[in-house]
């Protein structure tokens, strides 16, 4: 890569931070910390959006940054913390694949993502190669986290982190989506978390635990 402007370097740093946070999530078993890591991802995302807004002078990006800040740094983590306190789930059990194994798989995923991102990068209007590649990695790492975790709460944080990755991809490849779509996506995410809150209480009421072990009765009836 040749010369990068300061803005690009800063954007790359944001991307690197996001990836780091994704790996931190992958190894973290304490649910409260997981939510905090998610909030930090949101903060980095806000910073990246502001950076882009400042560089391009796009008005709607400031709005989008404010939306990210309000939703992903403040509201959603607050809701999740409240849920954790009221449900009393603080720890996830041992993941299905141990931490070092998960990390190794994660590394392979990152390499794969960069290969996948190559054609997009050629087309992207803003990004350096790393930004798009990292967006794809964040999505797939979150996916990996959802597969390997047992507790419903960790799966949800994984799901939200996946949405962060998609959002960052949109941001770095094309200055975000049109505002109406971004608002709609934000609404869906918010409603999704609220629905999940209701849902968790239903699961708890029924099983007195949020371990997804209980949700394995519906195998094919043989």
């Amino acid at each position: 890569m040749t010369h990068l402007t300061l803005g690009q370097q800063l954007l790359d740093s944001c991307a690197a931070l996001l990836l780091l946070l994704s790996f931190a999530m992958l190894s973290q078993r304490r649910v409260v910390t997981l939510v905090n890591l998610y909030a930090m991802q949101g903060a980095v995302l806000t910073a990246a959006t502001l950076l882009l807004a400042w560089r391009t002078g796009e008005g709607h990006l400031y709005l989008s940054a404010a939306l990210t800040l309000g939703l992903k740094v403040a509201l959603l983590p607050w809701l999740l913390h409240r849920l954790i306190r009221r449900l009393g789930v603080y720890w996830d059990t041992e993941p299905l694949l141990n931490v070092s194994g998960t990390m190794l798989v994660g590394l392979v995923i990152v390499v794969f993502s960069f290969a996948l991102a190559q054609p997009i990068t050629l087309l992207a209007s803003t990004a350096t190669r790393s930004a798009v590649g990292i967006a794809v990695s964040v999505v797939l790492l979150a996916f990996l986290m959802m597969i390997t975790r047992r507790k419903a709460m960790s799966q949800v944080v994984g799901f939200l982190s996946m949405e962060n990755g998609v959002f960052f991809g949109a941001m770095s490849a094309s200055y975000g989506m049109p505002m109406v779509v971004e608002l709609g996506v934000a609404l869906d995410v918010l409603v999704g978390v609220l629905v999940l809150g209701v849902f968790f209480f239903q699961i708890r009421e029924r099983f007195e635990s949020l371990d997804l072990h209980h949700l394995e009765a519906l195998k094919e009836h043989e």
Partner: protein, 485 residues
Amino acid sequence: MELLLLLAFPIAGAALLGLFGAHRRAPELNAALSLATLLAACALAARVIRHGNLLLGAEQFYIDPFNVFLVALTAFVGLTTALFSRPYMRVELEHGRVTVGRLRLYHAMYQLFMFTMLLALTTNNMGLMWVAMEGATLSTVLLVTLYRTPESLEAGWKYFILCGVGIAQALFGTILLYVAAGKVLGAQGMTALLWTHLDAVKTQLEPTVLALAFVFLLIGYGTKVGLVPLHSWLPDAHAEGPTPISAVLSGLLLNVALYAVVRSKVLVEGALHSRLPSMMLMGFGLLSVVLASLLLWRQRDIKRLFAYSSIEHMGIATFAFGMGGAVANFAALLHMTVHSLTKSSIFFTAGHAAQKAGTQMMERIRGLITLSPTVGWGLMLGSLAILGVPPFGVFASEFLILTAAMHAQPWATPILLGALAVAFAGIFSKVQPMVFGETNGRRLPHPPALLPVFAHLAIVLMLGLYIPPYLAEWYRAAAHLIGGP
């Protein structure tokens, strides 16, 4: 105007039923709102017939023959399901499976679900379509878990997570589409996600990115279509939720998701100049048909049985869209219509049958014909119709698809025929003893609403014998739009 009403009725209905959904007359209100939606849909369809394609609301909405017939179908099945659900949910209330408070949730979410589907169908914005599809998942999660049984909670969780992950992939695909379009249409434009604009420039879009976008979109929306191997949420959600919800999930949501896939395919195929999207659709479709028809045999729950049959039929339609061309597209659209009508009518009768027997387990449902001839005949006729017995409409569409396959993809014909035969034997051998044989049922406190069942079957029968010219015209126009070789 018609469009505004079409979207306003269900969203206002959701708010209204959120307030008064626990009222004794709420089921009637639900049906009345669905009727109003249907009338708006008919008016919209009439306008499209008169004036051709419509581009409304600052180009955010686009109505053409492809979606207007799905809008009409969605509103129609929405109404008949509301009529069916009126006595059905009352019986569930008296059997103590739901409470009055949950009925309020049920009615409000029912209308919200209709709204999201109609929005997904009518919008011209691929991003809004995604938002609406996700909204459709969210509004039905709590409906699947309405009974709060452990199984229904599991089904709801699976539904939420699988469709949620799937739909996140679709969002990524949508973004890739936006990136590619931004290059051509100007990156800051609001227009770069509008389907009509994308369609106009589709030959200039960067092929590699679009191919990647299609993979993500197909996995995302394909999860909601229930394509194998992404189908595992579907039988659970259908079996554990209340029957009216199974009917609309199977009859409507799957169609809407397939619609989203086909819209994406039109764009991508235009850009790619290759058969990759077609091959992928055919592959997924064929795999779904074959696996679903085999898995049918292992089912013991009546609603799971027909859920697998839905996977099979969606596979057939997907395969036909993959083949492309005038005949196959026409047949696929017809197949979507008749499958939706037949399958929802089957769920109606299966729901009543399960209520009468007090279980969904097929070995304990017996002798429907003696206890309630109409339910028995409804189930029998519906099953025959879905199995493709002439003269029902499913026969016509499957026949057309097989003919087209013989022509374009001869290798696939024996596979399709074999799977259809396996499914026929599987379903028929399970339905026959349920309808005939010794009875063990009980009387229900509310007489079942069977008018929707026979109305649906009558339309399916009619479509098998005679397709009205304007409908054929829609199908032809839509088939032309979807294109293919």
